[in-house]
């Protein structure tokens, strides 16, 4: 939702495509890739100067998030552990290469995502990288699955997230997604990378990121709504598919 709308501002008439300045500023400051407000830069600078406790503080700061990204992308705790360790070993090696062009969080997560993607490719046992579209073809919206079970959810996500059985449900739903859709969903929606950053990480076009993202979102929505939706309030589309 637009922050401006949340604050009660209205979009000037005819200003289609307008994004209010408050939203722009809020997004810029809170995006994982924003360099504007980065509390971690001082820790990195100290680590770059050879301060190991500073580096340990950096690990402490990011290890849970890195592990979470790896676990969501790979679905296996041992693989997630490997990727987490590889990520921080890479950080030791490339610490002095960080030139503050991005936020520290974005840099760390990008390294983690790359390690996770390498492991996904290795798992497939293929010399090529099927997560990328080496053919250069654009994926289409023609066969994106249409929503079938449509019902409002009975509970708020904030309340749902605290329930153990819901955690198992969402973990299973994510693990069951095709890897190429899962990767896009985790990078874009969970970790907050932009469409362009996600495309760069995966080596695919922005257009294909959007199609895969839609597939992931609709598949997860369908799966979760069948459990969390209010059956009594189920609705059916009244327009024919075309």
């Amino acid at each position: 939702m637009s922050l401006g709308k949340h604050l009660g501002w209205s979009v000037p008439p005819g200003w289609v495509g307008y994004t209010c300045p408050a939203t722009l500023a809020f997004n810029l400051m809170n995006s994982p890739t924003s360099p504007l407000v980065d509390p971690d830069r001082e820790i990195v600078r100290r680590a770059q100067a050879g301060d190991f406790p500073a580096f340990e503080a950096l690990v402490e700061r990011f290890q849970t998030r890195v592990y979470g990204l790896a676990f969501r992308m790979l679905g296996e705790p041992h693989d997630a552990e490997d990727v987490t360790q590889q990520t921080f070993l890479s950080l030791v090696e490339h610490l002095r290469d960080f030139r503050e062009e991005s936020a520290v969080a974005a840099w760390v997560l990008r390294i983690a995502a790359n390690h996770a993607l390498k492991l996904l490719r290795k798992r497939r046992g293929l010399p090529t990288v099927p997560l990328t579209d080496t053919s250069g073809t654009e994926e289409g919206y023609g066969d994106v699955p249409h929503p079938e079970f449509i019902a409002p959810w009975q509970d708020d996500p904030a309340d749902l997230a605290e329930r153990h059985e819901i955690r198992e449900l969402i973990d299973r739903a994510l693990a069951d997604l095709d890897e190429k859709y899962r990767a896009v969903f985790v990078l874009r929606d969970v970790e907050g990378f932009s469409i362009q950053e996600t495309a760069d990480l995966l080596g695919i076009s922005e257009a294909n990121v959007k199609v895969r993202l839609l597939r992931a979102r609709l598949t997860l929505r369908e799966r979760l709504t069948r459990v969390l939706g209010d059956e009594a309030a189920r609705v059916f589309p009244d327009h024919q598919h075309s």
């Binding site: 939702m1 637009s2 401006g4 979009v11 289609v16 495509g17 994004t19 939203t23 050879g50 301060d51 190991f52 406790p53 500073a54 580096f55 340990e56 690990v59 290890q63 849970t64 592990y67 979470g68 676990f71 969501r72 997630a80 552990e81 987490t84 360790q85 921080f88 070993l89 030791v92 090696e93 919206y141 023609g142 994106v144 929503p147 449509i150 409002p152 959810w153 996500p157 749902l160 997230a161 819901i166 955690r167 969402i170 969903f185 929606d189 907050g192 959007k210 993202l213 839609l214 979102r217 609709l218 997860l220 929505r221 979760l224 609705v235 059916f236 589309p237 009244d238 327009h239 075309s242």
Partner: protein, 83 residues
């Protein structure tokens, strides 16, 4: 809008309904289509559920192994370092 056009606009609308010109047409469609309103809301809640969920803690044994490995790597890369 055709279904394919609706689906194409859905992503952008979910992300920021004020951003994209095509969302104007999608927003108009939503006014008269309750199922689509519910789908948009479902998707937003799905994303929130994953994004705001409890973190996955690093297993203690993994964290301990990693600390040892990082210490060794650090000594090799920064032999003159402090700490």
């Amino acid at each position: 809008m055709t279904c394919e056009e609706l689906l194409k606009a859905l992503n952008d609308y979910v992300d920021d309904e004020t951003m994209v010109a095509v969302c104007q047409e999608f927003a108009e469609h939503l006014v008269g289509c309750n199922p689509c309103q519910v789908v948009v809301d479902n998707i937003r809640k799905t994303i929130r559920l994953y994004k705001d969920g409890e973190p996955y803690p690093v297993p203690p044994a993994c964290a301990a192994r990693m600390r040892d490995a990082l210490r060794e790597k650090w000594k090799a890369v920064y032999p003159q370092s402090t700490g």
